[in-house]
Symmetry: C2
Amino acid sequence: MRPTAFLFDLDGTLVDSVYQHVLAWSEALASEGIQLSIWRIHRRIGMSGGLLMNMLLRETGIALDPARLERIGRHHAASYRRRAAEIRPLPGARELLAHLTDAKIPWAIATSSRLETARPTLEVLGVDPERATVITRDDVPRAKPDPDLFLVAAERVGVDIESSRVVGDSVWDMLAARHARALGIGLLSGGYGEEELERAGAYRVFADPAALLHHLDELGVRAG
Amino acid sequence: MRPTAFLFDLDGTLVDSVYQHVLAWSEALASEGIQLSIWRIHRRIGMSGGLLMNMLLRETGIALDPARLERIGRHHAASYRRRAAEIRPLPGARELLAHLTDAKIPWAIATSSRLETARPTLEVLGVDPERATVITRDDVPRAKPDPDLFLVAAERVGVDIESSRVVGDSVWDMLAARHARALGIGLLSGGYGEEELERAGAYRVFADPAALLHHLDELGVRAG
């Protein structure tokens, strides 16, 4: 069996932070007078912030200049940091990472957020981005659904992307996994439905990191 | 064609309030030391508060005495009211109700919330519960997914339940519609996926009230 690696999304996959991100984007857009239904924002969480705003604005028909986009991005980051105190790791997330480390199975975190926004979330998880392999929007030209984040993550941990497992909660993770030719594993913990993740190409869907850890041997993974 | 009526759920169907309810429940449970993943709360929104707590607690294995359940319920209501300032009607909601009124098609609102919690949400929508037909948890022995709320709503507007349309954003609405033998129409605006609503029995699924209004003639509805 070839060596494998686990490449994890962060928000909604390891940390229970999706709903706070959603309301922070809603607040940031409202501060510029843009009213968007909250479910539409939820369905776009996990893709790059720039792309998220493009897609949302296309639906509203509003055109924004770069200065206003920049202000919305900063407002989202500040609003999210204010909500960070109520954020918790998802059940089994720490145990899953510890198990992989013990079993010498390489893992990395690859998030569409900038490190500035990811840092409080990583702290909640107890992951030090100076010691673990963490790839953020700052490291790649294009975030999800482009495959760059996962490609760089696989390269850093020294495992072929095609034998890696990409674990994420959103259809953007599954789409990026397909682009990268990795095996996509979906989690329900970000609030997407099972059928949406399967339709986007998830090979298997589990409730959360605890359920994934419980079924690890069904994913063709052996300790290294 | 027999006369028909539209029986609407409130949160996530006419008003963009689901995500605030979700975080208010999360806060209320955390105040009693109960940590539950937020997506699990989201998937239970729309059913009666008591049933919601039963289902959530079954998953955590925690048993709560009535006094503590009462405290959690009160904490949720207070936390939700604090968030009410950021709540907006969903696109097309007011226009849809106005259109039905103009066309002399009876409509009612049937919500699993108590009137105390529903009141600020109804205000956002511009609906006066003293003038419109609004059925709440206070009016029935059992809330959704039992059919009682929709059965009483149909009776109040004087239309046979079997020729009524039940419009909701959650699988609990679709399940209650089935129990009541009404036609269930799903909306994505509460954050459920299309496949989940179809699997729960939705005859059609639209994005939000604006899309439903646009396609009203596809639902076999004639002005009265």
